[in-house]
């Protein structure tokens, strides 16, 4: 897994590529929590994530919780079918704010 962080119209975007599993989810968690400190709006681009397991989901939930506590926005976008499947099975599709595209994230 790799991550790259950038800014688009005041929203911090973290582009994630690769597989999010037990090995890589601690890195993801760390990167996202650090980014969250520096911004009020954090969006995670999952379009290049072909795999996520429950440890990845747990990391995203932890970031969501931190965002809520800080009254910040935390959005996921670009979900592949694999990511969608896991969120559906774990009944979390309505817990996260989920958008199709980066444009929708910025203008919703």
């Amino acid at each position: 897994m790799n991550t790259a962080t950038r800014n688009n119209e005041g929203t911090t975007i973290v582009d994630v590529t690769g597989h999010i599993d037990l090995g890589s989810s601690p890195d993801l968690r760390k990167t996202l929590l650090e980014s969250l400190k520096e911004t009020d709006r954090l969006a995670v681009n999952l379009v290049a994530v072909k795999y996520i397991d429950s440890s990845g989901i747990a990391s995203l939930l932890e970031v969501l919780k931190a965002a809520r506590q800080g009254q910040k926005r935390f959005v996921l976008f670009g979900l592949t079918s694999a990511v969608r499947q896991v969120l559906q099975l774990t009944r979390l599709t309505t817990v996260f704010e989920i958008r199709e595209t980066e444009q929708e994230v910025l203008h919703a």
Partner: protein, 146 residues
């Protein structure tokens, strides 16, 4: 003749990718629909991750054996470890609508697989996972087009 893939690996997360690749490739050889493949990959990955986390508590020197038996109508997985056995009371013990961070792996495994059986055997802890294939009587081609 059926196909058997057996992996012996240390309890290290970096080898999960090898498990996923082998399971995924087996599924696509048998012409499973993409979504079924993804589900089974996830279930097996979660089960191995649980061994790394809970049976061996993150110790990287534990041994894990994953056996996949592939046939046209089902896939069967046997996972073996010599770590701490699972406490049956904790498997799927946490309600899914609790938004705590953990506790989802065993739910995913049960939702995806048709049979899930944790056993204590002379060689250690054994977990058997069985997935029956959806399509009966349709060709591999039709299935892979689905």
């Amino acid at each position: 003749m059926d196909v058997q893939v057996k992996l012996r690996m240390p309890s290290q997360a970096r080898f999960l990718a090898v498990v996923r690749a082998a399971v995924g490739e087996l599924g696509s050889v048998y012409g499973w629909p993409e979504a079924e493949c993804q589900g089974v990959i996830l279930a097996v990955d979660e089960a191995v991750a649980n061994i790394i986390k809970h049976a061996y508590h993150g110790n990287s020197e534990g041994a894990i054996e994953v056996t996949c038996l592939g046939a046209a109508d089902r896939l069967e997985f046997t996972l073996l470890d010599q770590g701490d056995p699972p406490d049956p009371g904790r498997i799927c013990s946490q309600p899914l609508d609790d938004h705590a961070h953990g506790g989802r792996g065993t739910h995913l495994i049960r939702m995806i697989m048709d049979e899930v059986c944790y056993e204590r055997v002379p060689g250690g802890n054994r977990l058997r996972l069985i997935k029956n294939l959806p399509a009966v009587g349709c060709t591999e081609k039709e299935r892979s087009d689905a």
